[in-house]
Structure formats: C-alpha cells, structure tokens
Amino acid sequence: MSDEVGAAVGRAFRQEWGQVVATLIGLTGDWDLAEECAQDAFALALEKWRRDGVPHRPGAWLTTAARHRAIDRLRREAVGAAKLREAGILAGLEQAGTAGTAAGGVGGAGSAAEEPAEDEAAVSGVADDRLRLIFTCCHPALPLEARVALTLRTLAGLTTPEIARAFLVPEATMAQRLVRAKRKIRNAGIPYRVPDAALLPGRTSGVLGVLYLLFNEGYAASSGADLVRRGLTAEAIRLARLLTRLMPDDCEAAGLLALMLLHEARHAARLDAAGDLVTLTEQDRTRWDADRIAEGVGLLRAAMERGRPGPYQIQAAIVACHATAASAGETDWEQIVALYGHLVELAPSPVIELNRAVAVAMAEGPAAGLELLDALRESGALARYYLLPAARADLLRRLDRPAEAADAYREALALAATDSERRFLARRLAEAEGAGEGEAEGAEEGEAEPGAGG
C-alpha cells in the first residue's frame, strides 16, 4: 500500500475522468452506464496499480478498463433480451478496442508497460469526445442549473453531494436535477456532438456562460465558506483550460480563461482577515498572484492579436489594466473607460454602464461619473442592485456632499446581500454621517461582476 498510487489515481481522476466518461458516452450513448463504468474503472485502478504499478498512460488504461466494464455489463443485459441496438453498441465497443485508443489489456500484466507513443488520431478522437460532452452538457434546451450540474458531474467528476453542497441545495434535489437532465437528453433527442458551423458561435458562448457562472459562484464565496463551493473557481479554470486546448481558435474561450485567471489572481487580497471587503484601491498588491496575472495577460495578448474581440476578451483587458498597474494611482483609467465603451457596444447591459460611469469618475472626476450614474438611476434599470447607490454614495462623498452620500449609503445598505458588503457600507455610512475623511472608492468592486459579460 503506497500513498503514491493513491495520489496517482487521484491525479488521474482529476485529469482523466471527463475523458473516460465522454468516450464511454460516445460509444454507448448511455450517460448512466458511462458514469458507472468510469467509476468502476477508477476503483479497479486503485487495486491493480498497487499490484502492477502505475501505467504509462493512465488515461488510456482507464478508458480501456471502463470500456471492458461496459462490454461486460451490456453482454449480461443482452443475454436473453438479445437487443439489436445493444448488439450494435457492443460491436462498436469491441471495435474501439482495436482502433488504438487503448493500449494493453486491463487486467494483463502488460498494463504497466504500454507503448509510450499515443497515435494522434486516438488523441484527437478523445479530445473530440470531451468537446461533444461539453456542448451536450451546456445545451440550451436544458435548464441553466442543470447545465451547470451536469458539467460538474460528468466533465469535472464532482460527486452529486459535492455539487449539492456547492450550490446550497439538498442532495436529493441535486440528484433529481441530474436525473431529469439526463432523461431529457435521451427523450428529447439532444445530440451528442459538437454543433455545426452555423450553430457553433452561439453554442460556444453558451458554454462560456456556464463556465463563467461556475467561476462566479466560487468567486463570490468567502474564504470561510465551504471549500467545495470555493473550489468551483478552480474547476471553472480547469474546464476553461480544457476548452481552450480543444478550441484553440476560439478567442473568446481564451479571453474567458484570461479573465478568470486575472480575477483569481487577486482573490486573496479581496477580503481582509475579518472577512471584510477590501476595495481595489486598498488591496495589498503584493498579495496578488503574479504568475496567474502573467499567464492571464499572455493569453489575452495572444487572443487579442487575432483581431476578433468579444465581451470576455474586453472584460479581461479591463481587469488586466487593474492587475498590471503598479499602484492604484497608476491605473490607466482612460484606457478602462475606452474598453467599457467598447463593451457597452458589444454587450449592452446596465451593469456595464454602471462600471463605465465609475471609470469615467476616475478618469475625468466624480462630477462626470455622477452625471452618468444619475441617468442610469433615472432609467430604473438597476433598481435592486446595491452597487448603484453604493457608487453614487462614493462619488457624492468625493464631491463633498456628505448628507446625500449618507442617504445613498443607506439605500445601498438596504439592498446589499452579504454580510461583508453590509459591514463595508455601514463603515462608509458612519464616515459620511461624521462627514469624515478617507478616500477609497467602494464602487470599483462592481468591476466585472457576475453576468457582466451577458
């Protein structure tokens, strides 16, 4: 018994689960069977790898094991019933074994010594299966919450209890959600494939939307919150990485990955020891993750050079402006204003208008920003959004209009959803009531909030 093998299986699970399930769904068309066989394969790995050593290509080993398991189960079920359909699937499964995805027998002594060279066709075949799985999980005919759950279960390998915990719903509710989603895929004839060229752009943005939602769910969780919930950001980044590998020509996928990395790089500095929000201006920039920022900026630059901008790339560019400024005072606000202008054109949304107004206040002064915020307020579009009155309050405070600022802080306080937001606003309200000093901006926290990408 060595922990090394356990760790290898754990690593393989994180890296290969989605691929094993995707391949098995592709071969059998049966989502439950695919999941069960993948689970069996990992259990078998724990046992066999301890005895025979960790195979050279764990993914291929696991796929073969899962495939054999599927053959066994289908054979058993086919006995007597002799279902033609299953016979066809069986033939397909058996053929897949000779086609080269799998090397070395599962139980065989040779499994630890597979040929190192994996032929390209097999690799791209596997990649294609995972892409098919992503697009099917994120199909618009499924309810959004089911898309999210299905992606986490089948692609990322989270268990149903883990997903339930992450989304703060009872386990039975989540299990039911997954069952219904799989049933609808089967009954409604949702195809297991990458959409054709005409549908691809729309569907891809749907996939990106699911991944960004996942990321934001995790990002919004405080550090004290359930680790599973917080772990959603890592899952989202992992899936976005996979997507950029599978769709290297998609600039928006790269933009989304860059956006996530740039946000995540600053997560640690976002809350103080007491769990209170720290504004961008006040954040300790030495606590930002320089490697993640460098990776995000590099990805973004490469994507932007291809000249196909989109909402995620622009949002990433805005966050990059913040992330690469040596100090808050050196932030290039004019550039940020220009980027928000571009974003409003591509993906109009009142949240983006709000962020643009805050940027204008930084670039041109609080009066110019306040004018935009007042217009937005009159439109009534963000009536329930605490960041609008919070941003107004901040600009009023800077314009030395403390009484109006206090009113706006009270308004924001009534709308804020989390404790840390409320504590932050209460602090500011107290300052305004005392017509106090201080000069940080509260409103920038609204920068690239969930859903801002549309």
Binding site: H139, A141, N187, A188, G189, I190, P191, P195, L199
Partner: protein, 111 residues
Amino acid sequence: MKYALLICDDESGRSGAEDIARGHATWTAYIESRGAVFLGGVRLRPSEDATSVRTRAGEVMISDGPFVETKEQIGGFALIECADLDTAADIASRHPYAAHGVIEIRPVLEP
C-alpha cells in the same frame, strides 16, 4: 426521432390564406432540404371557437374556450421526423410563425 411542433401565437395578426400557403410551402421544402420528413399537420381555427370537455365523477362538463387562458394559443401543429433536437429546432426556427409567435417542440412518445 419524431417531434410534434406546436405552433403558438397571440392570434392578433393572422395573415391571409395566400401568404400562409406560400410560407408553408417554403417551410416544407426546407424540411426536405434538411433530410427530414414532414409527416403532416393542421392549422386550427382561433381559440374563440374552442370548446373544452372534462369528465369528473362521471359528469361531463362542457365549457367555452381553450383549456387554459394564455396570451399564446396553439394555432396549429406539425409532425416531423428528423435526426435530433438540433435539427428539429432549426426546422422550427424556419416556420413562418417563429418570427412572431413561438413553436414548442415536443418529442413524440414512441413505444
């Protein structure tokens, strides 16, 4: 797979018979071009001519109007056979009513 397309709209601006016939011909031609089959369909008179029937505790109740009062009413349906939901959705999106009403796609329950 077989799908029923329930064609719904708010019954306000019904176009003339000629326009409808032309639109429908174009649509069925499109269905064929997608390698799918138009199995049949009908257009319905407006919901003001509808009658609803229920049997409760052996008693037959007949009432005027559709079974549910909504803005969108079923104005017709079509039965098609095609490869999958993506194809069905594409076909539905080309129906003349998709531009102002809504098409509900329901897979046909097959044994």
